[in-house]
Amino acid sequence: MARQARWWQWLGLLAALALLCALPFALSNYRTFQFTLALVYAIVLLGLNILTGYNGQISLGHGAFYAIGAYTAAILMDKFGVPYWATVPLAGAVCLVFGFLFGLPALRLHGHYLALATFALAVAMPQILKYKGIEEWTGGVQGIVILKPDPPAGVALNQDQWLYLLTLAVAVVMFVLAWNLIHSRVGRAWMALRDHPIAAEAMGINSALYKASAFGISALYTGVAGALGAIVVQFVAPDSFTGVLSINFLIGLVIGGLASISGAVWGALFIQFVPNIADHISKAAPWAIYGIFMIAFAYAMPTGVAGFLRLAWSRTARRTAGARAQA
């Protein structure tokens, strides 16, 4: 029974992956671009989930790490001529260091206090990026324009399709890594610290190290996504990375489902496409419609889309098991 369920899961996963690979060949370039961004957000939400979902530290500041990743990629390409694909891991590494360092003072703060501290980081980021002293690199208010990369020679894809598939490949790697990490010793330590910090410490888990490392890893994911986002959008500017971006990430996280790996995908689809749908419904007050969608999702699925699906799945599984037992 359990083995059968596992089989179905693998089959479903493979089918979803095949569908994702086929998407850019069925859609227009603009739609492909939108889905590429959704994948980028999924990577961010996965990182945010590691911190907030699995380690219990609320962050309203991931827009800042996203900005650092995006700017790292843009500056490396623009000033140092680094090839675009190499900027992605470098941006991740830079964010890992920043995240770890920010995680150290954040250790003292909990709950709402941590949310405020991280939100301060997000609010401060555009102003820091506009700062005159670093304008030479960041381009100040104007930002930096990046050229859209061509697919490697001999690959018969257009630029949008190539970027989509590249992002998809990175996303798949990041998801597999996250899955392994969560189901390892480290992941269990994170969850133990979330559920009962004192008991976890008594068991010998180094709270400071693990919490700061959760911050670091989470920032790494966000940085990788930021770099990809910059390449996809071909432009970075301070005002793209306001506090609203961070709040949107939180919305995606909660609506997708906390402490769930697949939740990152649902959340990303929500923050990428629901504002568009809202805009179609009402041109006059699109944000009101977006707000109604948010509240409706919160009512209908309090544990997020992933939590809802898990519940529905276990219900049907129980029902079929019951039917089989009767027969």
Binding site: R108, H112, V254, A285, Y290, I295, A298
Partner: protein, 289 residues
């Protein structure tokens, strides 16, 4: 020296407004452990309501009373209709409902009243007081904040209803056993918070003008003030509000200029929180294993 005094006094005036809104946040936090992110937009909407009434020719203080009353009722209605269904949902899901409310209020205000900036009259005379150190409006705003604080203090300390609300905040289960209607007390808390927010909105609007996004900055400062004072302490929220107002103004005028004002104010607050993680006047909780 005089310039410094001037900045400190006007910091106290804006601080008073942060304090009122911070007080509204604390009201809801104490009874439900939620921080209402929509508090600022609710206050903004109340202020628009006041503007409509003033525009129709009603006198200022009458409008003030009507707006506060209407906001009180609306606050209670929001709690009963929208927040009650997610009472037992995870904390972050409730936060999402708050953010949803925030964008709805913001967007609907923009839709009804447009995004153009409107001026909002002050009930206080235009001439400055204290030999030009302060405008009468600034002094009046401080006075109104202090009156609101005093009224709240009297309400919570000396009325049976206030006592019931404090009991619910401290221990909902026992309060229910003692015959207090917990649900209505929570709704009352929301109503009071909305009314206090309306006061803050009407006091700040003559200074920063009326537009749907007027409260985003104010809410952030109020949030910071509430946390700095200790999120469960009304007195602390007011003190935090005044401190944040003065720090923001003095730093903005003399140290770093207005551009980085918000950033630096937030950094100062985080600095304080790193030293005292539960805020200046907050209760330090000791957890038992």
């Amino acid at each position: 020296m005089e310039a410094l005094l001037h900045q400190v006094l006007s910091g106290l005036a804006t601080g008073g407004i942060y304090a009122s809104l911070a007080l509204a946040l604390v009201m809801i936090y104490r009874s439900t452990n939620h921080i209402n992110f929509a508090q600022g937009e609710m206050a903004m909407f109340s202020t628009y309501l006041a503007w409509t009434l003033i525009d129709a020719g009603v006198s200022w203080w009458l409008v003030f009373l009507m707006t506060v009353g209407a906001s009180f009722v609306a606050g209670m209605a929001i709690e009963r209709l929208l927040i009650r269904p997610v009472e037992h949902a995870p904390l972050l899901t409730v936060v999402i409902v708050f953010i949803g409310l925030l964008v709805i209020f913001n967007s609907v205000a923009g839709w009804i009243y447009s995004y153009t900036i409107k001026s909002f009259p002050s009930p206080f005379p235009a001439e400055p007081v204290f030999g030009g150190l302060m405008s009468a409006h600034e002094l009046g705003a401080i006075g109104v904040t202090l009156v609101v604080l005093l009224l709240l203090y009297l309400f919570f300390q000396f009325t049976p209803l206030g006592l019931a609300m404090r009991a619910v905040a401290q221990n909902p289960a026992s309060s229910r056993l003692a015959g207090i209607r917990v649900g209505w007390m929570l709704a009352l808390g929301w109503g009071l918070a909305a009314a206090i927010g309306a006061v803050a909105g009407m006091m700040v609007a003559p200074v920063i003008y009326l537009d749907p996004n007027m409260m985003s900055g104010v809410l952030l400062y109020a949030f910071a003030a509430a946390l700095m004072g200790g999120i469960d302490s009304p007195g602390g929220a007011v003190a935090g509000g005044f401190i944040v107002g003065v720090v923001e103004n003095v730093m903005g005028a003399f140290v770093i200029g207005t551009e980085l004002k918000l950033t630096v104010a937030l950094l100062v607050i985080i600095g304080v929180l790193l030293v005292r993680p539960s805020g200046l006047f907050g209760k330090v909780f000791v957890t038992r294993v």
